[in-house]
Symmetry: C2
Subunit: 195 residues, 2 copies
Amino acid sequence: MEPIRRQQLIEATMTAIDEVGLHDATVIRIARRAGVSAGIISHYFGGKDGLLEATMRQILRDLNDAIAARRRALANDSPKARLQAIIDGNFDRSQVTGPAAKTWLAFWASSMHKPALARLQYINDRRLYSNLRHHFRRAMPAPEAEQAARGMAAMIDGLWLRGALTREGLDATEARQVANAHLDQLFAQIEEAFL
Amino acid sequence: MEPIRRQQLIEATMTAIDEVGLHDATVIRIARRAGVSAGIISHYFGGKDGLLEATMRQILRDLNDAIAARRRALANDSPKARLQAIIDGNFDRSQVTGPAAKTWLAFWASSMHKPALARLQYINDRRLYSNLRHHFRRAMPAPEAEQAARGMAAMIDGLWLRGALTREGLDATEARQVANAHLDQLFAQIEEAFL
DNA sequence: TTTTATTGATTGAACGTTCAATAAAAAAAT
DNA sequence: ATTTTTTTATTGAACGTTCAATCAATAAAA
């Protein structure tokens, strides 16, 4: 029963946050969404905070899985192909649906004052930046690679943030297009520097 | 008295949100910060929501003032110079201090489910995008200009978001450097296309 | 004296958590 | 195979807390 209930409650949490925001996503509302009673949340997650943390972990896991899948599907492992896989993974379907997107943004804001969430947030931020820098580093000098990684990380998060705020949600195709155009520019500039 | 109290309470709101987050920024906490009693908030702002909306308006006004000031200080009005003014204005001092940055991010998340804040948010987003597109449009064809504007807007917001989440706060100098490097690339590519 | 500004105790609503009671399932005993 | 016992899963009312808003009382200013 436990794994089933946990999954149901995590999904209900995302749905509730998508519908009414983190502040109004009460335990009763979440429990009703999942078709159970409020008390069960404390039973399986120790309390509301435990459920919220588990929900954020789920979202981060989904994101990493999406990126890993794209990497595995790669024919070559050129720096540019690897970077494209990271970009595409970040705009993977599981990440851009309303519930996941709004839940993530809610956690982003919340993590500023909740150490447990801040830790998860920090690890994920660093991983995105480190991965980007590592692959840029194979194609350009270190200072340029670091700047490129910072810019690309910001653009990905920014596209994602702006998408979460629009009524229609994020257009993943368009977001990929913008980010990949930027990637093309960075690599076009490298080739030019070698001529 | 009214303008003084309003200003005090708005500043106290940002400080409180910076310290404990939007959720725990209660009227009593804000009032104590401002050195007044809780009841005065309803008296001057009609309630807590009114105070929050006024605080967001203040932040957006400060941002627009910063951008306008940079534009006025401009020697020439070339597209690139105008775009640089927008970038610099977005990382102006008043925007990158802890209180303003965290308050803004808190409102960003909150605006997903509060129509009053969403309206302010939407207007500001559109203005940034429209301004960027307008100036890019003077230097490149429309489709490219739109894509460049989307990418630049995302990068600005992303740098800003990532800065708000780091413990040390946003490094404005570094953020400007990254955004301006991207701008240089966009313009370098234009010149190349004309050769 | 009249108007304006401010207080802070009170009120009612809503929240998360707890826990005794109960239902369902599994195991053991007959 | 049937009954009894034990364990596991779940409920929802009750509890204590916290919040924003209210408003009669008071102080200050005009």
